[in-house]
C-alpha cells in the first residue's frame, strides 16, 4: 500500500524568508504523480504544485518549487519570499499513474511571522 509521510507537524517562517516542507512516500509503482495542496483556515483544498514521476525536472510555480528525489522517494516543497497569505496547512499527496485516488500525508501547519 502506498503511504505518504510528512514528518513536520508544524513549521514557522518569517515573512520574505524561504521555508522547505518535507514529504516522503512509499510506492512500488514506477509511474505516479505527486502534489502539494494548501488548506487555509477556510478548509478549502487548493492545488499548489504537481510533479510527474517520469519528469526529472523539478516543478516550479512562481514562488513554489519542489525538490523531487525519485530514488529517495522524497518530494519537498520550497516556498520562497514567504507571505502572510501562505499560512495554512500543507498536504503532500500521491496518486499512481494507473489509479485515481489521492493518498494524503498528515499535513504540515505553516505559520508565517512578521
Amino acid at each position: 500500500a502506498q503511504t505518504v509521510t510528512q514528518s513536520q507537524p508544524e513549521m514557522s517562517v518569517q515573512e520574505a524568508e524561504t521555508v522547505t516542507l518535507s514529504c516522503t512516500y512509499d510506492t512500488s509503482e514506477s509511474d505516479y504523480y505527486l502534489f502539494w495542496y494548501k488548506q487555509p483556515p477556510s478548509r478549502q483544498m487548493i492545488l499548489v504544485i504537481r510533479q510527474e514521476a517520469y519528469k526529472q525536472q523539478n516543478a516550479t510555480e512562481n514562488r513554489f518549487s519542489v525538490n523531487f528525489q525519485k530514488a529517495a522517494k522524497s518530494f519537498s516543497l520550497k516556498i520562497s519570499d514567504s507571505q502572510l497569505g501562505d499560512a495554512a496547512m500543507y498536504f503532500c499527496a500521491y496518486t499512481p499513474g494507473t489509479a485515481s485516488k489521492l493518498t494524503f500525508g498528515t499535513g504540515t501547519r505553516l505559520q508565517v511571522t512578521l
Binding site: R43, Q44, L47, F91, S100, K101, L102, T103, F104, G107
Partner: protein, 116 residues
C-alpha cells in the same frame, strides 16, 4: 474560472438520520471523488466514480454510504444512517482524466457534517 461547488456548506443532523451531500463538479470533468477529513486529521479517500459507476472505494465506504450522479451535473453522497463518527468535513473533487497529465483533482469547498 470553473470550480467545484458543494451544498450545503454545513449540515447538522441527528444520529440515525439520512443525509445527502451534493456536489457540482467542473462541467467537462469525467472523474469524481469524495473524501472526508475528521477535524485535525488528514484527508481520507472515500470513493471514486467514473462512467456512472464506482471505480474504487475505501474500507470506510461501507454499506451506509452510496453515491449517485442523478443527472448530468450533480454528484451526490448519501449516508443512510448517520453515526457520531461520521462528523467530518466532506470534500468533493473532480478531474478531467484519471491517468494522463490532466489528472489534477480540483476540490470543492467542503460540507461540514455534524452528527448530534
Amino acid at each position: 474560472e470553473p470550480e467545484v461547488t458543494q451544498t450545503p456548506s454545513h449540515q447538522v443532523t441527528q444520529m440515525g438520520q439520512e443525509v445527502i451531500l451534493r456536489c457540482v463538479p467542473i462541467s467537462n470533468h469525467l472523474y469524481f471523488y469524495w473524501y472526508r477529513q475528521i477535524l485535525g486529521q488528514k484527508v481520507e479517500f472515500l470513493v471514486s466514480f467514473y462512467n456512472n459507476e464506482i471505480s474504487e472505494k475505501s474500507e470506510i465506504f461501507d454499506d451506509q454510504f452510496s453515491v449517485e450522479r442523478p443527472d448530468g451535473s450533480n454528484f451526490t453522497l448519501k449516508i443512510r444512517s448517520t453515526k457520531l463518527e461520521d462528523s467530518a468535513m466532506y470534500f468533493c473533487a473532480s478531474s478531467y482524466s484519471g491517468t494522463s497529465r490532466h489528472n489534477e483533482q480540483f476540490f470543492g469547498p467542503g460540507t461540514r457534517l455534524t452528527v448530534l
